[in-house]
Symmetry: C2
Subunit: 458 residues, 2 copies
């Protein structure tokens, strides 16, 4: 990026050049930028000027920029392209990027794209589109360097030089047999450090970590995290190599899964769309279903409270403690569920560890619950001097301990149960736990209060 122009001023600078029809300066500016930055810049510029600006880009840079753009801008451009321009962009795309594009476009645009794709690429695209969403197959690319085991290092370099320019990565080469079975892999580093006459099968790595086409893409991303590979081979059930996943796809998956997780954990239906590009009605739709569900579940708590009207009309001061108790129950439940959800996602916790988890959570809950009860007791003796502080602190203290223990056990149990039922554990986070704990907190509190009142303990 040119150092003398601030990124925030770019749209104005470009608009100025455009008004002067000074295309040379725009081209020069673009050539000094990374594709991702050009795409971001084009996203901030008026849509009507997008096709003119895009046509200023040199061919290869144009395709690289196109890949980085938002899908609505891609669609706008495709509709503005003539057939020649469309073919130029499509020809430069890697297969996995072409698949991403096709998945986002409406049917008529897809047809037009496929018409301008060469037959070989079209069949690769169609193959990838067959794999289920979120599978390894759906994020792989078919552009990798394959070697034969009997090649020499010198042959291997010849092949890389000849075919490498079109491959997504050349740094890990895959050694396959005639039937496409994956035999091993060899890195360019290993090739560079070996003698030219060495036979590939003598230096290839045969302990291969591979993934199957149907494996979940989050598990694939976790493998990149664990093993630090540049690419991972994707094989079918017969161990035939069908594609590779590269580390940049893994980073994308991690980011998307992160967004999805925290949205689910806050009761928002997951969406990977840009905040400002999502229409208001869609924002509302992504949130309303959960809000309605949680609102209606909260009526259970309301019903419980109504059943104890006798208790709180006798001692109305009790009502003031409800938010504190419900809040603590919700917070404890959401704390432990978060720890467990994260542990499950990272593979630190397995469903069979549930007894160990519960034992940990109960001990943590006893420490937390007793601490909270003591602090609460001090507060009550300060703030409620005239209102029978002993009764209040015993009632709320016992309730706190009970609520905290129950909340942390539920927070630990529900995500594990979800996992066992093949649901996403992240659904069992704060919103659901809070709603459940609201009901239990009131139930525990009023029962303890009634018990103590009926025994005439105070």
């Amino acid at each position: 990026m040119p150092e003398n122009i601030n990124i925030d001023d770019m749209p104005e600078v470009i608009a100025g050049y455009l008004n002067e029809r000074n295309f040379g300066s725009i081209r020069e500016l673009f050539e000094s930028m990374e594709p991702a930055d050009i795409a971001q810049l084009l996203g901030e510029i008026d849509d009507s000027r997008l096709p003119i600006l895009f046509r200023i880009l040199p061919k290869e840079l144009a395709a690289e920029t196109f890949v980085e753009m938002d899908s609505d801008e891609q669609e706008l451009l495709i509709n503005a392209f003539n057939d020649r321009e469309l073919k130029d962009v499509i020809d430069e795309l890697f297969v996995d990027d072409a698949v991403d594009l096709i998945e986002e476009m409406p049917a008529n645009v897809v047809k037009r794209i496929l018409r301008h794709t060469d037959p070989e690429t079209r069949s690769a695209i169609n193959e990838i589109l067959r794999y289920p969403k979120d599978s390894a197959g759906s994020i792989m690319t078919t552009e990798y360097v394959s070697l034969r085991p009997d090649m020499t290092v010198s042959d291997a370099f010849d092949r890389i030089r000849r075919t490498g320019v079109d491959k997504e990565t050349i740094y890990t080469c895959y050694v396959i047999a005639g039937n496409r079975k994956l035999l091993g892999l060899v890195s360019v580093r290993e090739l560079l450090l070996s003698d030219y006459n060495t036979i590939v099968s003598d230096i290839m790595e045969t302990n291969i970590i591979s993934v199957e086409t149907t494996e979940d893409r989050e598990d694939v991303a976790n493998k990149f995290d664990k093993y630090d590979f540049i690419s991972l081979p994707v094989v079918d059930k017969e161990n035939r190599l069908v594609g590779i996943v590269t580390f940049d796809d893994a980073i994308d998956v991690l980011r998307e899964e992160h967004s999805e997780d925290i949205q689910k954990m806050s009761a928002v239906s997951p969406s990977d769309e840009n905040y400002f590009k999502t229409p208001v009605w869609k924002h509302a739709k992504n949130r309303i279903v959960w809000l309605l569900l949680l609102m209606l579940s909260a009526t259970v708590t309301g019903t419980i409270i109504n059943n104890y009207q006798a208790a709180f009309t006798a001692a109305p001061i009790l009502v003031g403690f409800i938010p504190m108790l419900m809040g603590t129950g919700g917070n404890c439940g959401s704390q432990s569920s978060t720890m467990i959800i994260r542990g499950l996602a990272l593979g630190e916790i397995r469903p069979k560890d549930i007894a160990k988890v519960l034992f940990t959570e109960v001990r943590v809950a006893l420490i937390s619950g007793v601490t909270l009860a003591l602090v609460n007791c001090v507060r009550i003796f300060i703030m409620y001097k005239g209102d029978d502080p002993l009764f209040l602190s015993v009632t709320t203290g016992l309730s706190l301990v009970g609520i905290v223990v129950l909340a942390q056990c539920l927070g630990a149990l529900l995500p594990v149960l979800a996992k066992l039922c093949r649901l996403d554990p992240a659904l069992m986070a704060q919103p659901l736990i809070t709603t459940i704990m609201d009901a239990f907190s009131c139930f525990i509190f009023f029962n303890i209060a009634l018990l103590i009142m009926s025994r005439g303990f105070v």
Copy 2:
């Protein structure tokens, strides 16, 4: 990994071999595994057997496995090593891994490690240790391939062959001047596709995306996500190359920041330790501070409720609606704060966009609030036929709309304010918003109820 042995059975198989003193089979087994898998396996085996098993590993594999182990196991091993063994492992570590190790070890172990490090590495380690935690400098490594601009491609390959074996990545080479200023970079792919006599400065890329030593490591990771690079150069204020960050470090940062985010968003003090390896008192400590803070804040809500005792002793049925209203306020606030926190983290939303965000959230809130109020009205006319359903649905309906609008505005405002105050926006998530909204929800509800009652509207 050997296909005939299940990973879950490994610890038993190894223990069996160990009892038979069949070290050959163990070594063979280890040699067929990835270092990360061996480390995981060793973590599941009794600590007393760790040193014996570790000594069975061949030298290079031993160092690679050591890097992947948990810090308590690393400490145990170092204490069991003699000086020769320690030096063997340390010599094989990359500088950034050595730094990670040193940061985790107690002072006496650190001294011993540094004593067995060669002077050059020691000074590199000390330099990296000087950078602030979470900065680009703290996660970089100093082992990169540097080239001179006047080298030929053939010279470059010679240099890579000669020095590459010790470098963390060879695939991006950095071209520097005599004063270490970064002039450009060239990929091995580009080198392989060029003629041997080409001069490096003719093919090097001079539009360089680099990071400064003090840049936040999360911003560095986001650059990997945006640009898909294998490595990024780290430069000082004078644009002198001081190190590189590789994509695997970026993946680690993304994972750690993800854990940190969702822990903060659930009011758990962030910790990257394994769930089961964290002692119970530490789990409790990570949670209690927030619980206490939130419990005490909830007393504000309690006080508000106590102030309206007149209202709910006159109409005790109102109390039953408190959980539903507080719950909805908390859920809406946490939904919008999550969207904004995520948008800020991804760079989709900038603090200056706040007006645009508020405009979006108010519209979303009106749609959600009115929908919830209508559904709630239907529910009340069904469930509270005998209890003045008109009064109840008008009161709760108006409250719902007010609460949802306020919750979504607060949920949007607080993270942006945090960002402006240089706090982590993730702190402004569900637990805090819920607690604040509890108080506001009660306040809004009782005031609307009193207003309607005093006007004799029903």
